[in-house]
């Protein structure tokens, strides 16, 4: 039983490490990577990003939707490249900046135009999106950065799109 308790504590501590929330005193903060996609800025929770990679070759793969540009090689492992420009704006991203995701369930990387900054914002500046727009459901909330509201990318929604499109072969 003691071991179970220890394992549970370690697991809980690990889970806390993966959370995008950081508590400092009374305030809770979220960390985001702000990335440019074509001419717009989007926020991606920092905890889902394993690494940022610039200018590596994309290896094309057939039989997939156009927003999947191919694979990149990360330490010998293939990662599926999802072009956020095609996904959000139906326009191919010309630049080569990759956000390699840290997921247990898949090997995914987001292709974006550029990386702007890493921000830590108080939870009070994160707002849920309640109205259903024509954004394909890729954004569940937004974050206030100065005078600008930046959509937060819902990684699960992107993964769901992939699963919906590819389905069962």
């Amino acid at each position: 039983m003691a071991e179970d308790g220890l394992v549970a504590k370690i697991r809980e501590a690990g889970a806390g490490k993966d959370s995008d929330k950081v508590q400092e005193g009374e305030l809770i903060f979220h960390k985001f990577i702000i990335a440019g996609v074509l001419n717009k800025r989007y926020a991606i929770p920092a905890t889902v990003i394993r690494e940022i990679v610039i200018d590596v070759p994309i290896h094309y793969v057939p039989f997939v939707p156009p927003y999947i540009r191919g694979f990149i090689n990360r330490h010998g492992e293939p990662f599926t490249v999802v072009d956020m420009g095609v996904l959000f704006e139906q326009e191919e991203t010309k630049e080569r900046a990759f956000l390699v995701l840290n997921l247990d369930s898949d090997q995914l990387a987001f292709l974006v135009s550029d990386i702007h900054e890493i921000v830590k914002v108080p939870e009070t500046d994160v707002y849920p999106i309640t109205e259903k727009g024509e954004d394909g459901g890729y954004f569940s909330s937004s974050v206030r950065l100065g005078t600008e509201d930046v959509f937060i990318v819902a990684v699960e929604a992107v993964r769901k799109r992939l699963a919906d499109d590819l389905g069962t072969p």
Partner: protein
């Protein structure tokens, strides 16, 4: 099978034999066990397309082999079109396989195609045309990487099973039977196109 022109032995020594070929910068490997003969294609006999309406576009040639004609599937051309690769040189290699590589159901389909449309061809074999640098190489299975989980089932069903990276290049492990079956079976040909090409938004 022709003697290996370029043998690569893995450090662990637990390698299996694979047939390897390149189309441009892209490498492809297939299990050697699929094939029982390999010959350099010299002067293949062109099929009379008018006599075979609706036939798979990659079936255009007959290969003379041991006194028989073997129908040839242009695997290199199929891959070039799928991967948008430029045309290569004219020297080609043909690999000959028995129909059991297609499995029971697929084998029956190909056997029926040969019997009905090509009665003067060998009824128990199909040739696969590959790139001219085809060679046998020894590679360990552990050197390959499964494709990312989200795409694995879709690509494996279409004949792309795994890959490995060598410097800046990629090699795909392919299943020639699955690649060919999607072309030979008209009902499966739509799967050759991107599954969601019609809905970018």
């Amino acid at each position: 099978m022709a003697p290996p022109e370029n043998t690569e032995t893995t450090a662990g020594g637990n390698g299996e034999n694979f047939v390897s070929f390149h189309l441009g910068e892209l490498g492809f490997v297939m299990e050697r066990a699929h094939f029982y003969a390999a010959i350099h294609r010299d002067k293949p006999q062109e099929l009379d397309k008018a006599a075979c309406p609706g036939l798979c576009p990659y079936l255009r040639e007959l290969l003379p082999f041991e006194g028989r004609k073997v129908l040839m599937f242009n695997l290199d051309e199929h891959l070039r079109e799928r991967f948008h690769l430029a045309e290569q040189g004219t020297i080609k290699v043909a690999l000959i396989a028995e129909l059991d590589i297609f499995g029971a159901e697929g084998g029956a389909l190909v056997s029926g195609l040969l019997r009905e449309q090509f009665p003067d061809c060998a009824g128990d074999a199909l040739a696969f045309r590959v790139g001219g640098d085809g060679a046998i190489r020894e590679i360990a299975y552990r050197d390959f990487r499964l494709l990312p989980r989200g795409l694995h089932d879709t690509l494996a069903a279409r004949g792309l099973a795994a890959c490995r990276f060598i410097d800046d290049r990629i090699e795909f492990v392919i299943d020639p039977a699955k690649l060919a079956l999607h072309c030979l079976q008209p009902s499966l040909r739509p799967f050759l196109e991107a599954p969601a090409a019609e809905r970018i938004s």
